[in-house]
């Protein structure tokens, strides 16, 4: 946490979202979103059905739900990697069309390029946006310092531990100073202690830059500890079961300690009551069905998304 608060704290307030567009551009609205996939055999599978929720600018919103409830699909549509079959996904009031501007994505898997050094990986964001190599590297160096990885610039990702790789991924995601940060179970593969440390660092950086965050997780404790709003989803097909506003004070401080606050326990209990049935139902369902989940196909999508479906099963 020490590194996170140094540096550009001052301009973070004056120039939110990298100045590309004002704060209002960071509002995410999903209304009536349905997403169906067609398997190669022609079977249609509805991943999401009539999903409505809003993430206010600068809000930290967590989405929890059982496995296979279409959480990742939702993120993909906000990023512009995927299109809804029906309904609309709006970012900053404009319908998402093509890759959404000002968005960064932290994936569950390692998205660091193994053939590039840590520094080059972090510098990718500015390089792709046409910033000169020198300047991109300088800013990557700065960001590596902020996530506490000074001195690891010339390492390759495989030489780092899982937690360190996540820090690099965090720096790579934040270097463009996104107005929206999409996180797909970013800390899912980490051990409990590392996860807690990473969560704290994320909160620190978030409070500095204040992007809108859409954070997907299985872990309800993590969701409550970090976010302003928790969206509970059902599975098969994914729908919204409930939206809970978390009124714990900010800054939250260490996530390990907030777990013992009475208000935290109360909220956690309340949301768990809602989530519990879904988890049990999803568990019972996966016991019996083979499932077509993960099969991506052409259905109601148009334009640039046609040639680049995520994880297309050929």
């Amino acid at each position: 946490m020490t590194a996170a608060h140094s540096g550009q704290t001052l301009d973070a307030g004056a120039d939110p979202g990298g100045g590309r567009a004002g704060r209002a551009s960071a509002r995410i609205e999903l209304s009536g979103v349905t997403r169906r996939f067609t398997s190669p055999t022609g079977k249609v599978f509805t991943a999401l059905r009539d999903v409505n929720f809003t993430v206010e600018p600068g809000q930290f919103c967590a989405v929890v739900g059982p496995t296979g409830c279409g959480k990742s699909t939702t993120l993909g549509m906000v990023a512009g990697l995927d299109r809804p079959s029906a309904g609309s996904v709006r970012v900053g009031g404009a319908e998402v069309d093509g890759i959404t501007e000002g968005v960064s994505f932290m994936f569950q898997q390692d998205a660091l390029l193994p053939w590039k050094t840590v520094l080059a990986n972090v510098a990718l964001g500015p390089v792709f946006r046409g910033v000169g190599k020198k300047q991109a590297q300088a800013s990557a160096r700065d960001w590596l310092g902020r996530v506490g990885l000074r001195g690891f610039e010339d390492h390759h990702p495989h030489q780092l531990s899982g937690g360190m790789r996540k820090r690099v991924a965090m720096a790579a995601a934040l270097i463009n100073e996104p107005s929206i940060l999409l996180m797909d179970e970013p800390f899912g593969a980490l051990d409990v202690q590392t996860k807690a440390i990473m969560s704290n660092e994320l909160l620190g950086l978030w409070e500095e830059l204040k992007p809108s965050v859409l954070f997907i997780t299985h872990d309800l404790e993590e969701a409550v500890a970090l976010s302003d709003r928790v969206v509970v989803m059902t599975s098969g097909p994914g729908t919204i079961k409930g939206v809970y506003d978390i009124d714990l004070p900010r800054p939250r401080g260490a996530v390990q300690e907030i777990r013992f606050e009475p208000r935290f326990l109360e909220l956690h209990h309340q949301i768990w009551e809602s989530l519990k049935d879904e988890v049990q139902r999803a568990y019972a369902d996966t016991g019996g069905t083979s499932g077509t989940a993960g099969v991506e196909g052409a259905s109601g999508s148009s334009g640039s998304s046609g040639r680049s479906k995520p994880a297309g099963e050929r």
Binding site: F105, Q109, D110
Partner: protein, 305 residues
């Protein structure tokens, strides 16, 4: 570990002292283990080299003796001493088509040019088709058809087009190389992790940037793997081309030796080609190491002690 005897003593030390004591203990342990491992590695290397030398002497010596004792007929099978004599003769007096060096030079030129053109063509088309699905679907079947043709036979056509000179052999070699590299590059592009591509897209990469920063480096593992085989094919293309008709080159030397019932000559030319191929192989391995320096060391390199 003598935990019980030391535990009492440790209780009276601070954690730092315990840690530093432990550290020196560990360092001493590691030093002895390292020394032992080094000794074992040296011994093993010696054994392996001795085994290799023995096998070589056994095969070559056996060949020589069997031929001398007329168990196998040296007229058909040649014999090592004859091969060496033939090599010495070539390098001292040249072949019937000029100095042996110029024969080697001609064949190498054909093979190398064919290799370079074939690799370039294979990589470019492989990467293109790997990324543009429509093109792949349209062209794919035709590439498969051409690949199914015994391509050596294409040599005859190339001679009709280009005559007996170098270009026909270069073309034959590059066609052989092309398919090996193409299929690997194509597959390599197809295997690129979608997460890498999606991440680059979200970060604002253009198609060209994705190709350059994500797709090509990722496919490079596949492409370099194909280069080893590809160089072999380039040499085959050049030699076979010279077989079909040439004024110079190692293929011509071989076919000449064959026509004169000179097995030693055929074997001698094979030795020269083998030396060339091994040299090129080590060059490609070096290149591979350079290009793929980022890869984590494989488990065989990090041997457990």
């Amino acid at each position: 570990m003598a935990i019980t005897s030391q535990s009492k003593e440790r209780q009276m030390q601070t954690p730092d002292q315990i840690r530093s004591a432990l550290q020196s203990e560990i360092a001493a342990d590691e030093a002895t283990v390292t020394a032992r491992a080094l000794r074992q590695a040296r011994k093993r290397k010696l054994q392996v080299n001795a085994g290799r030398a023995l096998l070589g002497v056994l095969v070559v010596g056996g060949w020589q003796l069997f031929a001398q004792w007329k168990i196998i007929d040296p007229f058909f099978f040649g014999q090592p001493s004859g091969i060496v004599r033939q090599l010495v003769d070539w390098f001292q007096h040249g072949t019937s088509f000029g100095s042996i060096w110029s024969q080697i030079g001609v064949t190498m030129e054909e093979a190398l040019l064919g290799f370079v053109y074939g690799v370039l063509g294979g990589v470019v088309l492989g990467v293109l088709l790997g990324q543009v699905r429509f093109l792949a679907d349209v062209i794919g079947p035709y590439i498969k058809i051409v690949n199914a043709v015994p391509r050596i036979v294409l040599g005859s056509i190339f001679f009709v087009w280009l005559g007996l000179g170098t270009p026909a052999k270069v073309l034959l070699a590059s066609v052989l190389v092309f398919f090996v590299v193409f299929f690997n590059a194509f597959q390599g592009v197809r295997e690129v992790d979608r997460v890498f591509v999606n991440n680059a897209r979200v970060l604002g990469a253009s198609r060209l940037q994705i190709t350059r920063h994500v797709v090509l480096p990722s496919a490079l593992t596949w492409i370099t793997a194909s280069l080893h085989v590809a160089f072999g094919f380039a040499v085959i293309g050049a030699i076979v081309g010279e077989f079909l008709g040439a004024q110079q080159g190692l293929g011509l030397v071989i076919s000449d030796a064959q026509n004169h019932f000179n097995p030693n000559g055929v074997f001698a030319a094979m030795v020269i080609i083998a030396v060339i191929a091994l040299t090129a192989e080590s060059g490609i391995s070096f290149l591979e190491k350079k290009l793929l320096a980022w890869r984590p060391p494989s488990s065989t390199e990090v041997a457990g002690i």
